[in-house]
Amino acid sequence: MSMNMLKKGDIILLGIIAAAIVISFAVVSTYKRSGKDTDKVAVIKMKDEIIKSIDLSTVSQPQQIEISGKYIQVILVERGRIRFLDADCPDKICVNTAWLSEKGDMAVCIPNSTMIKIEGQSDKVDAVTH
């Protein structure tokens, strides 16, 4: 089958189809990638129970959440990030961990058996030994 069997219009049509395919692939992959960045869900856990799950991309106003167990901890949530703001536990490791904003980020209070984690995996490291 040779190309001269095709009329000009057919070639244009094929061109349009090809362009449509390329564009749709581009759109789909961009969409997927952007989803990866914005879709950040923070999970607050006490022992193995999920207390609260927050989609950080939809937070419009900063808000504070108080958790009470053996100790009282205050969590601050802003758009795209979350942290332990204050705690009356002895070491304050949870507070010193500061902001969490990337997938896989985690802040933990062992004496209170609480943690905040942003769901998903970091691209940089799978875990940190300490």
């Binding site: 069997m5 943690m115 300490h130």
Partner: protein, 353 residues
């Protein structure tokens, strides 16, 4: 003919695009490339698991059950466990132990011996006196420390394997498995993963990381080495590995401050005071996590020179040493799998001693 050709092209494209789409969704649903992650608290720390398996949730629960069982048997922070009974019968009688406890005690004695007591499983009386794991830590008097030092001797753990019993030679002696039990638990977790035919997973028991296989795509796991002077989660380098245990010790883990002096939780069993060897962090990489756990403590207490000598003597074991003056040293075998990453230009990477 032309029309058929165009139609043919359109059909072909449609099929290939939709097939591609189908493949992708199917892949997501059934494959084990989707990780299951779980965090829970036990052994006085946080335990994270990442498992690539369709049955991951159930397996992670079994692992947690096993870890709690180990904790109950080996803890000395509450009564009723086997090791607690062993301590209570110190200087009096033999106590029956199950094979896990016997194995861990034997391992602990072995590492106490090869480290010349820099790791000593009998450090219990000192740990209790300092109270580093309690809410009210305090500095014991020099006299008290001297008295307690006479109780610290791993050779006083008498194990009779044939009857599955052990005994501590003197009254008031205390076995403390705090420096090794988490390591043992990590190995048990990997055993359970294997029993359930998991090919790819890792467990992180309070910073003790044990890797099963590689990642599902065949690439190596990347494990950060904690920056001892930075906040939680920051690291000074990355180790790429598979099927390895990676365990760290450091002065940043647990400590208290008194009159401007920081007292950390790793007591040198030879002096009775927090280890002061010029190191702020060590990381040990080996096949078994029980080995890496004991050796990370031992090397931290021994210091750079002696710690490095000990690791180089052992086959299949590598280590990272971080000194107080912010220099990073690694063993020879680690050079291809350790990548120094220091965004703040705070540390100096010295490959060779």
């Amino acid at each position: 003919m032309r029309k058929e050709f165009i139609l043919f092209v359109i059909v072909l494209v449609t099929i290939s695009v939709s097939a591609c789409d189908k493949l992708e969704t199917q892949f997501d649903k059934n494959s084990t490339n989707v990780p299951y992650e779980n965090e829970d608290f036990a052994m006085g720390t946080i335990i994270s698991q990442r498992i690539y398996d369709n049955n991951a949730e159930e397996i992670s629960k079994k692992v947690m059950d096993k870890i709690r069982e180990i904790e109950d048997k080996m803890t000395i922070n509450k009564s009723g466990g086997e090791i607690d009974k062993l301590n209570a019968s110190a200087g009096i009688d033999f106590v029956e132990l199950n094979e896990d406890a016997i194995y861990v005690l034997e391992k602990a004695k072995e590492f106490s011996k090869i480290s010349n007591g820099a790791f000593d499983v009998m450090v219990g009386p000192l740990v209790k006196e300092w109270g580093v794991f309690s809410d009210n830590p305090s500095i014991p008097s020099a006299k008290k420390i001297e008295d307690l030092l006479s109780l610290v001797n791993y050779e006083d753990v008498i194990i009779d394997k044939s009857i599955s019993k052990a005994k501590l030679r003197k009254k008031s002696q205390v076995v403390d498995l705090g420096g090794i039990a988490k390591g043992f638990a990590g190995d048990k977790a990997i055993e359970l993963y294997r029993e359930h035919k998991v090919n790819s997973a890792f467990i992180n028991i309070g910073g003790n990381i044990v890797l099963l296989g590689s990642k599902p795509d065949g690439s190596l796991w990347k494990v950060g080495v904690r920056n001892p002077t930075g906040p939680e989660g920051t690291y000074i380098g990355v180790i790429s590995a598979k099927d390895k245990a990676i365990v760290s010790s450091g002065d940043y883990q647990r400590y208290f401050e008194k009159d401007g002096v920081r007292y950390h939780h790793i007591i040198d069993p030879r002096t009775g005071y927090p280890a002061d060897s010029g190191l702020i962090g060590t990381t040990v990489i080996s096949d078994l996590s029980i080995d890496a756990d004991a050796l990370s403590t031992a090397t931290f207490v021994l210091g750079l020179e002696k710690g490095m000598d000990l690791i180089e003597e052992l086959e299949g074991v590598e280590a990272v040493f971080i000194t107080k003056d912010k220099k990073i040293y690694i063993t020879k075998g680690l050079s291809s799998s350790f990548k120094f990453e220091d965004d703040n230009n705070e540390y100096e990477y010295v490959e060779k001693r």
